[in-house]
């Protein structure tokens, strides 16, 4: 057995209870969402989504299709409370005494994230197959793009949080991360303004295009590599 397999096995067991709870919460959320959105006015949904020919349950399903992958992507990337319980139980400190490299620690976390994604991807695919029977439009690309969007947002937030922690442990002020984030957000905003104002339906429309799919095909591996690198750095930094 490789150290990475051991770490994955441990974390799988430690996170089992919370993961099951999240899966159930996710499914309950979906059920509640169906009931909640069943009353949405079809014209509002139609205008917002620029799919005016979709009506009734089709509109509901479309909203569902939109939110399902978004939350799925976020939850797939979210590691749950394992990190906190590891800190409380003392494992985080103990792990430094084990003959496991920072690379292996980081690799185990990335693998777990990818494995965790399988459940959410399966949920989304299943729903997409069901939805495709009721909708005239092909939503597969939309689902993949929105899932990727949620995944990237969550991983991005965790990378920033990790760097804030790394800076603090290196004795540098965590504000540095906030400043860098602010600058990046500002640059993104400027680019957005240069391209022109983007109404909501236009924004959603872009998630149905192959160009966006291609963009995520590039962004996702890059984000995973960045996540791995950040985790590796985090393991290399010791207590102050």
């Amino acid at each position: 057995m490789h150290p990475v397999s051991s770490l994955i096995y441990r974390e799988k067991l430690v996170g089992q209870a919370s993961r099951k709870k999240r899966y159930i919460e996710y499914l309950i959320f979906l059920l509640i969402y169906i009931m909640f959105t069943s009353g949405i006015n079809q014209s509002v949904g139609g205008e917002l989504l620029a799919y005016k020919h979709i009506d009734g349950w089709g509109t509901v399903m479309f909203f569902f299709v939109m939110l399902l992958p978004l939350f799925g992507g976020i939850m797939a990337a979210y590691p749950g409370p394992v990190e906190r319980t590891d800190r409380v139980s003392g494992w985080t400190r103990y792990a430094y005494t084990l003959p496991v490299s920072a690379k292996d620690h980081a690799m185990a976390k990335v693998w777990l994230t990818l494995v965790n994604s399988v459940f959410y991807i399966a949920c989304n695919l299943l729903y997409t197959v069901v939805a495709l029977r009721h909708l005239d439009v092909n939503i597969l690309i939309f689902v993949i793009n929105f899932f990727s969007f949620g995944f990237v947002i969550c991983i991005g937030a965790m990378i920033l949080a990790k760097w804030s922690n790394i800076m603090a442990r290196r004795g540098k002020h965590p504000k540095i991360v906030e400043v860098v984030t602010g600058i990046l957000a500002f640059v993104a905003f400027c680019l957005h303004m240069m391209v022109g104002p983007m109404p909501m339906d236009d924004f959603l429309w872009r998630f149905t295009t192959f160009q966006t799919l291609g963009l995520f095909a590039l962004i996702l591996p890059a984000v995973c590599v960045l996540y791995y690198w950040t985790l590796r750095e985090a393991y290399m930094v010791r207590e102050a």
């Binding site: 003392g90 400190r93 430094y96 005494t97 084990l98």
Partner: protein, 296 residues
């Protein structure tokens, strides 16, 4: 096993925190030796152990384990050491069986047979979750894990703290069994000096981040002596030889560093033997007086 003289060598290790610092900490743990690491709470024991384990960075100095730099050869070193903390660092959801699977992938020399022998020796339930273990059982499980990968060096941070005498005895027996081949070493921090009296070959005493003593237990106990005399009688002693004096209404109790020298200065005095606890308490008192912290 490769040849090295000292399992651990610390040379001039310094580490500063806002309210505390280790100052030029230097001592060696010779190969095949059980080193007791004593000192009061906040003296710097845990900081020293964390520095050795590189869970924290040091500001200055050098730490060598098996003759190798503790950072440059970190992974290689950590395959050959085992660590036991005062609190179990394993999640309550796991079982003793799970720990076997986890560690078999982490330690190249993990031995499941040895592990289950220790689990049996300590009478630990294999399938029960750790959260349902008692404090003693948790510590025994941690020790079983530490002793099952043929580690050459054990680093123990208060392993017997909070355990009842029976469990403490079982734990000490396990350590003695581990030391049988004479090639292995232990560095054990503890408040319970009676445990160290039973097991330690050497002792290092730290106070306020400074090493006060580091030598063989038998030499230390032979060298020191406790004189009970009238309040003024001890003044004939060489002040350099006196560690500390405790005055009470019956007279004075004086700890001396060199009982032979003290005996020649006070030929009629009865000089009692001391234990590690006496030595620790008197040295701490001396330091407190020097720092003006004593209650008059």
């Amino acid at each position: 096993m490769e040849t090295y003289e000292n399992a651990i060598e610390l040379n001039g290790v310094c580490k500063s925190y806002p309210n505390f610092r280790l100052e030029e900490v230097s001592f060696n743990v010779p190969k095949g030796c059980v080193m007791g690491f004593i000192g009061q709470n906040g003296a710097g024991k845990t900081t020293t152990l964390r520095s050795i384990l590189h869970t924290t960075n040091i500001d200055r100095g050098e730490i060598r384990i098996f003759g190798q730099d503790h950072i440059r050869n970190e992974l290689e070193i950590k395959k050959r050491i085992a660590v036991v903390f005062d609190e179990i660092p394993f999640h309550g959801n796991l079982t003793a069986q799970d720990m076997n699977i986890i560690f078999s992938g982490i330690y190249p020399e993990w031995n499941s047979v040895t592990y289950y022998e220790y689990v049996k020796f300590f009478e630990l339930p294999q399938k029960l979750k750790i959260s349902s273990y008692s404090k003693g059982m948790k510590m025994k499980l941690q020790i079983a894990c530490a002793l099952s990968h043929n580690a050459e060096l054990l680093i123990l941070d208060e392993p017997t703290a909070g355990l009842d005498p029976v469990v403490r005895d079982e734990v000490l027996q396990a350590f003695m069994r581990y030391m049988e081949d004479g090639e292995r070493s232990i560095l054990m921090s503890s408040h319970i000096t009676s445990d160290l009296d039973k097991i330690a070959d050497m002792v290092t005493f730290i106070d306020c981040g400074e090493i006060m003593l580091s030598e063989r237990v038998d030499t230390l106990l032979d060298r020191h002596g406790l004189i009970k005399c009238a309040p003024d009688e001890f003044r004939v002693l060489d002040p350099e030889d006196v560690v500390d004096v405790r005055l009470n209404r019956f007279g004075a109790e004086v700890l001396v560093q060199d009982r032979v020298k003290a005996a020649s200065a006070m030929p009629n005095a009865v000089i009692d033997r001391v234990n590690l606890e006496d030595i620790m308490v008197y040295y701490v008192d001396k330091r407190r007086k020097e720092r003006g912290l004593c209650i008059q």
